[in-house]
């Protein structure tokens, strides 16, 4: 499973792409694979404040349900309506069409690079 080099990662298996002060957030292919077919995604409301490491949504597969964590402190600026309508894009294209939400970053904790995240997924 390839792990894009240009992204940052959390131990909750989310990826973050930073453009200026806005971060785009999704879950990794590793997480999507572990969940199985995603059938429902619930995302935070645009305008809401989220805190790093705290739950802000849900992602549900036929088998299980997981929380979505905010990877940074900030304000939600946009959510991916397409992923709400077609949750399977989380499985088919987790790093592009399957993005979940954008957040204006107020405070950024330390995040993993691709090598560190790759090591995390190898730990089993």
């Amino acid at each position: 499973m390839t792990i894009p080099q240009n992204l940052r990662y959390t131990k909750e298996h989310e990826w973050i792409s930073v453009d200026g002060d806005v971060a785009t957030v999704g879950i990794t292919a590793f997480a999507a694979e572990a969940l199985g077919d995603v059938v429902f995604v619930e995302l935070p409301e645009v305008g809401s404040e989220v805190g790093a490491g705290t739950p802000c949504g849900e992602i549900e597969s036929t088998k299980s349900v997981s929380e979505i964590y905010a990877p940074v402190d900030g304000e939600i600026t946009e959510v991916n309506q397409a992923v709400i309508d077609t949750p399977e894009s989380v499985n088919s294209d987790p790093y592009e069409q399957g993005w979940l939400f954008k957040v204006r970053v107020e405070s950024m904790p330390e995040l993993m690079d691709a090598a560190a995240y790759s090591a995390l997924t190898q730990e089993g």
Binding site: G36, F40, E60
Partner: protein, 359 residues
């Protein structure tokens, strides 16, 4: 533990999960695609983790009548019966399928998580009878072909006359030249077959079925879709709908407790005196896409009335479905209840089981 097909699954790119100590395929590609394949074409399952225990001898039938809730002595040779093993308190040790292979020869199929206990209990309970109990689990593999095209697939590679093989019947046969016990049983709500084979023949039989299934939409299927398939079919799963302190009557399984058979059987005294159950297993249907899951609370208004035993977004129906134990007064189809889905109450309605029935 690994089944004899473990390498085959790895080669197919399966994801694995632990199930009762077994490293089992949970999915090969997509749970939903595998689920759909079983409803519309066919799926191929490795169920070798399940337990197979044989009883042979002049009193095998009497021993099973004593050990289990059903009247196994009344099962005709070649037929099978869904039944249960109960404990002295009337709780369910396991739910079982028992095949009568010959006048003095039965095969008991137990859930993986209960196989060791069922085997030990059968030895103990058969103690006073002229029968030999042999646990064949370690040398027996079980492969299932389930779905509307399963008869075409199995028919192409076996010497059995499938038109004469009824549902819940079995026949010794060969598949690709290997000896199998071919049973028309399953846990998916579809027509289907289960093939008991020697461990050493499992890979060959799997390959023969895979090749025969190529033109019939057969795909390998993992345990994830097995669970959603059985849930849609309203079939109980041990540890969810059934347990050692749960009553068979509450689980709507009174029909498999046979008080009309002669003699004592384990649990009889308690089960006969058991009052009408206060709670019963019901089906629940929701709207939207958030599914109630095992352990979630069920409410009527503000009052907590029960607990979800299994639930999922039904791949076939497209809405959430669940089973739950609720008081009899809340069990009428059409009753409006709610499920506490991680802190938010979602409306659900009691519906008749099964949720899905093949045409």
């Amino acid at each position: 533990m690994k089944t004899p097909l473990h390498d085959v699954h790895s080669g197919l790119g399966a994801s694995f999960t632990d199930f009762a100590g077994w490293d089992m395929p949970v999915r090969y590609s997509s749970d939903l695609a595998e689920h759909r394949a079983v409803r519309e074409a066919s799926g191929l399952f490795d169920l070798s983790h399940m337990g197979e225990i044989e009883l042979t001898g002049p009193q095998a039938a009497e021993a099973l009548d004593h050990a289990l809730s059903g009247k196994l002595s009344a099962v005709a040779v070649g037929r099978a019966r869904y039944t249960m093993m109960c404990n002295e308190q009337g709780g369910v040790v396991d739910d079982l399928v028992v095949y009568r292979l010959a006048e003095e020869h039965y095969l008991v199929v137990a859930n993986a998580g209960n196989a060791a206990e069922v085997s030990a209990e059968l030895v103990r309970r058969a103690g006073g009878f002229d029968t030999v109990v042999s646990d064949r689990s370690a040398e027996t593999a079980l492969i299932a072909v389930q779905g509307p095209t399963s008869a075409a697939i199995v028919g192409a590679v076996s010497d059995a006359d499938l038109s004469a093989l009824k549902y819940f019947a079995s026949v010794p046969a060969t598949v690709g030249g290997r000896e199998v016990l071919l049973a028309r049983t399953g846990y998916t709500g579809e027509d289907g077959f289960e093939l008991f084979v020697a461990d050493a023949d499992a890979t060959a039989v799997w390959q023969v079925l895979t090749e025969a299934g190529a033109g019939h939409g057969l795909v390998p299927c993992g345990l994830a879709c097995r669970d959603t398939l059985r849930l849609e079919a309203g079939m109980p799963l041990y540890g969810h709908e059934l347990s050692a302190d749960g009553s068979p009557f509450a689980a709507n399984l009174g029909r498999v407790v046979r008080f009309d058979k002669e003699g004592d059987f384990v649990g009889r005294t308690v089960l006969e005196k058991q009052p009408e159950p206060e709670v019963v297993l019901v089906g629940l249907a929701g709207s939207g896409r958030r599914a109630p899951r095992h352990g979630y609370r069920v409410l009527q208004g503000d009052e907590e009335v029960g607990e979800i035993t299994s639930g999922a977004l039904s791949p076939t129906l497209g809405h959430p479905i669940a089973m739950a134990y609720v008081p009899v007064r809340c069990s009428e189809p059409g009753t409006g209840l709610s499920a506490d889905i991680r802190g938010r109450l979602e409306p659900v309605e009691v519906v008749a089981l099964p949720f899905y029935q093949r045409r």
